[in-house]
């Protein structure tokens, strides 16, 4: 079975550009995977997503979605993908439902009718259901101009989910959403993945959202600088640490030297947990401890470390 997303040596240089916005990027995403594309502003994430969704042509390289080439089989690709754009892409002259209806008809889901009440019952049910899921409710019938930024984002999310895409691209989908809406959205997307084996390709600056990804790909200056499961990327770059202290610091220091574990002192002892469990370490120390805390590495720490190294 073809990967859901296949990218080989992708290069994009804009017509007036002097450097490649995307510079030889390659990755695969298997069907049903949750894949996160991370990187700082201007790294090439949105350019990559634009090429993957056929709104931008590549300069060179091969890109396939569900086995279809984005250049030669663009129409087939468009049927397989859904996207929630980074920049709001709503028509401000229409109301929320009219924006959704426009999308649904463009994707051939329902015949066009000039009024909501003339649309098929299945459409009306789907709109109401999705509006409730993202917490928009009856606000979906308000003119877009009168919706807040967060509500507009929710509207775009409803629109992107209407046609049940095989691959869903989420380009910073939760920017502008409050915490509750963000959680609701991720719960819904998680259920969607389980029910429909949908592939998710996410770009985000909220790195906590990528912690649950099957794989992350970090790009900088248009190039891949790290790729793998979040755990692997984290363990390569940052380490779990044990924070301890004792009444007699001199003895504790001697014991840590004896155990041959790397540590630093920062008002207390910060011990790197390498290749052993925190429990083993604590068990090996017989000095009474006045402080005990473990800190797990986060993707954000790994990401920041990586970018700092890249730009050093």
């Amino acid at each position: 079975m073809a990967p859901a997303i296949e990218v080989r040596e992708l290069v994009k240089r804009y017509r007036k550009g002097t450097v490649n916005a995307v510079d030889g990027v390659s990755f695969d995403v298997e069907q049903g995977q949750f894949f996160a594309l991370l990187g700082p502003n201007g790294a090439g994430k949105t350019t990559t997503i634009s090429i993957l969704t056929t709104t931008l042509g590549p300069t060179s390289g091969i890109v396939k979605i569900a086995g279809h080439d984005v250049v030669r089989e663009a129409s087939a690709v468009r049927r397989e993908v859904g996207i929630i754009f980074q920049n709001p892409s709503l028509d401000m002259n229409l109301n929320g439902e009219e924006n959704i209806r426009f999308h649904a008809v463009l994707y051939g889901l329902y015949p066009y009718r000039p009024m909501y009440r003339l649309m098929p019952a299945a459409y009306r049910h789907q709109v109401r259901e999705l509006a409730d899921v993202v917490g928009l409710g009856a606000e979906v019938f308000k003119p877009v101009r009168r919706l807040s930024g967060g509500m507009r984002r929710k509207l775009e999310i409803i629109r992107g989910l209407m046609h049940h895409p095989k691959v869903l691209f989420l380009d910073e989908p939760t920017s502008g959403l409050d915490t509750a809406s963000r959680r609701n959205l991720w719960q819904y997307i998680s259920e969607l993945r389980k029910q429909r084996d949908i592939t998710i390709c996410l770009t985000t600056h909220q790195l906590a959202e990528a912690e649950d990804a099957d794989r992350v790909c970090i790009i900088d200056h248009g190039r891949v600088v790290a790729m793998g499961a979040p755990h692997d990327v984290k363990s390569e770059l940052v380490h779990e640490t044990l924070h301890i202290d004792a009444a007699d610091r001199g003895v504790l220091r001697q014991q840590l030297h004896a155990l041959k574990v790397p540590f630093s002192e920062d008002g207390h002892f910060v011990v790197r947990v390498d290749g052993r469990s925190a429990y083993e370490l604590v068990h090996a120390i017989d000095q009474p401890l006045t402080m005990l805390r473990t800190e797990s590495a986060t993707l954000e720490e790994a990401y920041l470390r990586l970018l700092a190294e890249e730009n050093a």
């Binding site: 634009s50 056929t54 709104t55 754009f85 709001p88 426009f102 066009y112």
Partner: protein
């Protein structure tokens, strides 16, 4: 046939936007009053007798053709506005063919232009421009052809624009000379050779002449007002439409994906 629905949705969006724009609605009523009643009336009083035909009817057909043609052409520039405010990406990421998107846009702007000329025709009837039900029935296909021509022309122009300011400059540059070269308010039966060549290149000339060919058919003024037979005008407009449409769409699609 999902594309027919998509064309209807794209066209329906344009019509909805028109009805929700009070400025455009007011202009659609005020503009014909100014043009036919004031301009046509003034020309009739001062030049009507020497020209040998009714200037109110002449002005009406001129502005009718111009409005249909220019409104659709300028309406196409909203494709550029969509690109600037990112709505275009929603349309272009959909599985609808690019030709259907462009065609839907032309159909939508055609409907808007036809809505705009309805008050025009009503004013003309009030001012006793001799329009029979047959004339009005024949003007419907003429209006459709004129709008489609305007849409294809607008699509071609669209590829020369990058922002709305530039669009306004280009529209002024392209349309203003055509008012004179197409005989909008003044006859062009006699022109110096260089203006005659430019006039022959003006698509608006054939649109206006076709409208006059229908309205003046069978009248004594026909020979003094109409330049070419309706069949010739239709043939020229058809050929121009095909060339502009194919070239315009190809350039537009290329520009969208080859940034």
């Amino acid at each position: 046939m999902p594309d027919l629905n998509a064309i209807a949705a794209i066209a329906g969006r344009d019509l909805l936007k028109f009805f929700r724009d009070p400025g455009r609605l007011i202009a659609a009523v005020v503009f014909p009053f100014l043009m036919i009643f004031l301009l046509g009336g003034t020309l009739q009083l001062n030049l009507g007798q020497s020209a040998g035909f009714n200037f109110i009817g002449f002005t009406f057909t001129g502005f009718l053709g111009m409005t249909l043609f220019q409104s659709t052409a300028q309406g196409l520039s909203s494709l550029m506005e969509d690109r600037l405010n990112d709505f275009a990406q929603e349309v272009f990421v959909s599985p609808v063919s690019r030709y259907s998107i462009v065609f839907g846009k032309i159909v939508g702007e055609t409907l808007v232009a036809i809505m705009q000329v309805i008050p025009f025709v009503l004013f003309a009837l009030i001012l006793r421009v001799p329009l029979t039900p047959t004339h009005i029935a024949l003007l419907v296909p003429v209006a459709l052809l004129s709008c489609f021509m305007g849409g294809a022309f607008g699509l071609l122009l669209l590829n020369t624009m990058s922002d709305t300011r530039g669009a306004n400059q280009i529209f002024n540059f392209v349309f203003l000379p055509q008012y004179f070269l197409a005989g909008l308010i003044s006859p062009i039966n006699v022109l110096p050779w260089y203006l005659a060549v430019l006039s022959l290149l003006s698509p608006m000339r054939y649109v206006i002449d076709l409208a006059r060919g229908v309205v003046y058919a069978g009248t004594p003024e026909y020979g003094r007002v109409v330049l070419l037979s309706p069949a010739t005008n239709i043939a020229v407009l058809g050929a121009m439409f095909v060339v502009f449409m194919v070239a315009g769409t190809a350039l537009f699609v290329r520009r969208e994906t080859s940034r």
